[in-house]
Homo-oligomer: 281 residues x 2
Amino acid sequence: MRVLAFLDGSLADPEAAHLRVDDLGLLRGDGVFETILVAVKKPREMRPHLDRLARSAAMLDLPAPDLDGFARAAQAVVDAWQGGPEIALKLVYTRGVDGDPEGKPTAFAMGLEVDEKVLRARTEGVSAVTMERGFGPELAERAPWLLLGAKTVSYAMNMAALREAARRGAQDVIFTATDDSVLEGPTSTVVLAKERTLYTPPSTVGILPGTTQYALFRGAEKAGWSVKVEPLSVEDLLRGDGVFLTSSVRKVTRVHTLNGTELPDSTALHEELVAAYESEY
Amino acid sequence: MRVLAFLDGSLADPEAAHLRVDDLGLLRGDGVFETILVAVKKPREMRPHLDRLARSAAMLDLPAPDLDGFARAAQAVVDAWQGGPEIALKLVYTRGVDGDPEGKPTAFAMGLEVDEKVLRARTEGVSAVTMERGFGPELAERAPWLLLGAKTVSYAMNMAALREAARRGAQDVIFTATDDSVLEGPTSTVVLAKERTLYTPPSTVGILPGTTQYALFRGAEKAGWSVKVEPLSVEDLLRGDGVFLTSSVRKVTRVHTLNGTELPDSTALHEELVAAYESEY
């Protein structure tokens, strides 16, 4: 099922047309979004997601989003939801209609079912492949106009990388920088577990700060883990105790195979980390 | 004025809603487009634009677009147009609604007025700044999943670069690769004139093959110019006789200032090149 709400809290038919064809979100991918997991009617990490939406919007010089309105729309979706126990809740915010003298943004919240494949990957894990992202780890700070680390709706490349992974027989991707350091997945954050420490690369390398990764680190610290934000190499991933991809809808998903190489069995670690993450809610 | 047509040739109200919010063109910037100049009811370079749309679609693994349908929609827009002497005619083709079992793409043609600023730039020229694009000139061939050289609707970065140029007091951008070689503008092709030869970088460096640049080269050759497709440096641009940005709507626009440095006066060259380009129609 799908549920659509606007920022005044009103619901609308998600199968009806609501957008003009000249919305800049469509013509130019000129907008930002968030995907929030709602479990048993409770949105997870709502505030960090709203903050990140505002941060992405600022990177695109969009007007500051009405975060109260987004929270209201999100709540309307949750209240009206009659589907499965979880909702993939999308918040979308675009520059609005091309040439609109008022520059009124397009904004809505939409609830969708969590994809079957994502649910299966949570238990079975995934095979991932590394792919070049083509830039150096210092580029993001030097060239903010490239919008590295902004969660824009210009995700054609991210989707193309996932299709390329499928062609290679894998289910997910880990992007690497020109120095071979680890960046992120097309829709996830990379986490390495090694000797009771969790690692993830710093967002300054040009990646999105992960809300789920952050929640996991918080929960894991309480459970006695150390956590470190520092650059990682692909070699590090191969030599660790476990590699995980985190995102709102996939939660903490285990990578069992990387570039065709089976990684050490991290099933027990995975259970422990999922428990640490879930303990936050 | 705006005119909207679908691939069966039917017209629709461009100010009405026609798209669902879960169109992947909006949620993921997952689609491709073309912008065609229509002058005095005649679309320019229609076939090259349609071919490029098909090429971009193939790079995104989209179903092959119905080019006859797009030509029909384009003609419907042209026939219904009652605005100015020129139309900026957009063809848009997205992956359609997320989760649609039939995978039916979204496709339409829309005519818009040519922007005032673009018209002014045709006569007055523009000040441009170079900006890093962050990748090397050999990346596109090695990493096709980055979609370099595909004309996708994921243009948030291109728009951000133009806003950054405005902050620097310039009107346009010339992207450079990590080796400082010239790539393209966010929505244009770079052409250098030097000693009766026109130069443009090869599309293999990860840029869009320019339909207007190609038409200009064709016309210029007939007028006695030599034309070369080869790598260019920013230094080459500074030392030439004239730098031009070409695109459907801007035609051949003169760059009078690059990175704050006034370029040699290319007004006469510009007139000559515009005449060569116009002689093709």
